[in-house]
């Protein structure tokens, strides 16, 4: 009889671990986002009215996946149109993040606040970063 209890607890245990993993699949990305991005783009990705573009439900993010890594590392300047609104405030790059960390931040953004923009692999991000046009 004892092995049944053991089996039961193991399967429940596994279920529990799986469930808790599913809870926070982008842990590093989330922490990095909160430390480096949230003060401007906000915890909920909503940005700041007219001055800082949103990342949540943002057409620009969905359509410029290959550009995100370079923007995060080197920042961006000039006008950018997001969801029909023109924004024109410079963003500073975050030089401190490694290629791997940038991948995690992108995947966190891609799957947060209702976003469903797919996955960027480490290889794709590395390649994108090697080809950033620094201007």
């Amino acid at each position: 009889m004892k092995w049944k209890t053991l089996l039961l607890s193991i399967s429940f245990g596994t279920l529990f671990i799986l469930a808790s993993c599913r809870d926070d699949p982008y842990k590093q990305g989330r922490i990095l986002y909160q430390n480096f991005c949230a003060s401007c783009h906000m915890d909920d990705g909503s940005g700041l009215a007219g001055n800082i573009p949103p990342l949540a439900g943002a057409d620009y993010v969905a359509q410029h996946q290959e550009a995100l890594a370079c923007i995060i590392r080197y920042g961006m300047e000039g006008e950018v149109v997001v969801n029909g609104t023109t924004y024109n405030n410079p963003m500073e790059g975050i030089g401190a993040l490694s290629d791997f960390e940038i991948t995690n931040v992108i995947n966190y953004i891609n799957h947060s606040w209702g976003n469903d923009y797919g996955y960027m692999t480490y290889g794709e991000v590395k390649k994108a970063l090697a080809n950033c046009s620094e201007d």
Binding site: S39, C40, M42, L48, A49, G50, N51
Partner: protein, 208 residues
């Protein structure tokens, strides 16, 4: 049973009155005092707003206002503060007795046109939310008067150390409340304080 229920009624009435009184409670005066123990109002100032109009204490005569310190290119706490100031503006959009006053601490870069663009993009209501610039020392001195900490520090990523505090000033120029402008919870309580102050102003006009 009967005396018990009477007691219950009396107790609940008492409770009702005491909570009603609490909501009407006055805000304390937090301004510093002079040698004779009288409260000192916020000193006069002379700045220029996003529409190139002069802004001084006279602009806020008989009004309540929230003061804060920021700069447009600030990558740290200012966007969150601006979002919370927007929340306050939204909450009191229909009440002309409450105004907002945001001072730049970076007057070198934050010119009038730049403040104008920033304010318009935010959706600041003209005449309600003033974004002001002026003499740097005067701006920093005022920060002191509003119990705000502002220090230039080139070692920090944005070049400034500032506390992000919102300060509520009453119609007589006294400081009545303040909160951490980067904390939505504290700003929630702060909004209640503003409501209390506006009630108090109503009572004051009713008396005269």
């Amino acid at each position: 049973m009967r005396p018990f229920s009477k007691l219950g009624l009396a107790l609940s009435l008492l409770l009702l009155f005491s909570t009603a009184c609490q909501q009407q409670a006055e805000l304390p005066i937090l301004s510093p005092k002079d040698d004779r123990g009288s409260f000192l109002p916020v000193p006069d100032f002379s700045f220029v707003n996003q529409d190139s109009m002069p802004v001084s204490r006279a602009t806020f005569a008989g009004k309540a206002y929230v003061a804060d310190f920021f700069f447009t290119s600030c990558p740290t706490i200012c966007p969150v503060m601006a979002q919370q100031m927007l929340r306050i503006q939204r909450h009191f959009s229909g009440d002309s007795r409450l105004l907002l006053l945001s001072h730049t601490i970076d007057p070198g870069r934050d010119t009038v046109p730049r403040l104008k663009t920033y304010a318009e993009n935010l959706g600041a209501i003209p005449g309600k939310w003033h974004f002001v610039t002026g003499d740097k020392d005067s701006l920093y001195d005022m920060a002191d008067d509003y119990y705000n900490l502002v220090v230039e520090d080139q070692n920090l990523p944005d070049g400034f150390d500032h506390s992000g505090r919102f300060t509520l000033v009453g119609p007589k120029g006294y400081i009545r409340s303040y909160c951490n402008g980067t904390s939505p919870e504290e700003v929630g309580q702060f909004i209640k304080d503003i409501e209390t102050l506006l009630h108090e102003m109503e009572d004051a006009t009713a008396q005269h």
